[in-house]
Amino acid sequence: MSDNATLRRPEQAETSPRATEALQPPVDVVEDSAGITLYADLPGVPKDRLHLHVEADTLTIEGEIALPAPEGLEPFHSEVGLARYRRVFTLSKELDAERVAAEFVQGVLTLRIPKVEHAQPRRIAVQVG
């Protein structure tokens, strides 16, 4: 049963989500008139192991956990059982993916994605009569 992994073709292994098992970080997403703010919890990820990609309309957040561990550490209780986070979002076209601003402090990623100028709200005068 455990031989399944070796039976998988390599190109399949790369695209299969199970090949790169990952934890799904919890997020908050808030939208206001000027853009969207996304907050994601990625505890244990140092700055240099956080990877953000925006490709076409897909935003990918990935991070690898690196914890200081003394030699010979044997885990006996693990609630965080994998060392990788990954979550993918689809952006909509009124968001300006070119101007994403990111901040990463103590395991919390804050992404600000502004809306493109013409998508920002305008008050529409309602004519009566």
Binding site: V30, D32, S33, L42, G44, V45, G107, V108
Partner: protein, 147 residues
């Protein structure tokens, strides 16, 4: 506050994990007297070496001033508060996803009997509280010389 699952995985990975647990003879599924051990905030990993017990609490975005780590009678408590980021109800903003924990938290771990309450170190890095408790020297393994 009830908090579902901190880091959900995909269903297949979860089934794999359960199956592995069953194969290894149950894993750590036995319930604790302090209630459900899993799914709380912060998530905990605990491990040990011959010389120390290492506790990792995955608590991102905490103001270190609100962190309270105590060791009393072999019980380690990690408590604190995490400020919310969501806008007030009357703000002109829409919350699309609301999964992250906010508010006060407290988690408790029972440590082995041989830990030394005077040799504890706690450090907060990359959103993880790492507590390292030394074991008492007497219980550390020693090689016995055979004459």
């Amino acid at each position: 506050m009830f908090y579902r699952s901190l880091f959900p995985r995909d269903v297949f990975a979860e089934l794999d994990r359960i199956q592995r647990g069953l194969q290894q003879g149950g894993g750590d599924l036995s319930p604790s007297i302090r209630g459900s051990a899993r799914g709380g905030y912060p998530a905990l990993n605990v491990g040990s070496t011959a010389r120390s017990v290492e506790i990792y609490a995955f608590a991102p975005g905490i103001d270190p001033a609100t962190l309270d780590v105590q060791l009393e009678k072999g019980v380690l408590t990690i408590a604190g508060e995490r400020a919310g980021v969501l806008p007030p109800k009357d703000a002109p903003a829409t919350v699309h996803i609301d999964e992250r924990f906010s508010g006060r938290f407290r988690r408790v771990v029972t440590l082995p009997d041989d830990v030394d309450p005077n040799a504890v170190e706690a450090r907060y890095t990359d959103g993880v509280v790492h507590v390292s408790v030394q074991r008492k020297a007497a219980s550390q393994p020693r090689r016995i010389h055979v004459q």
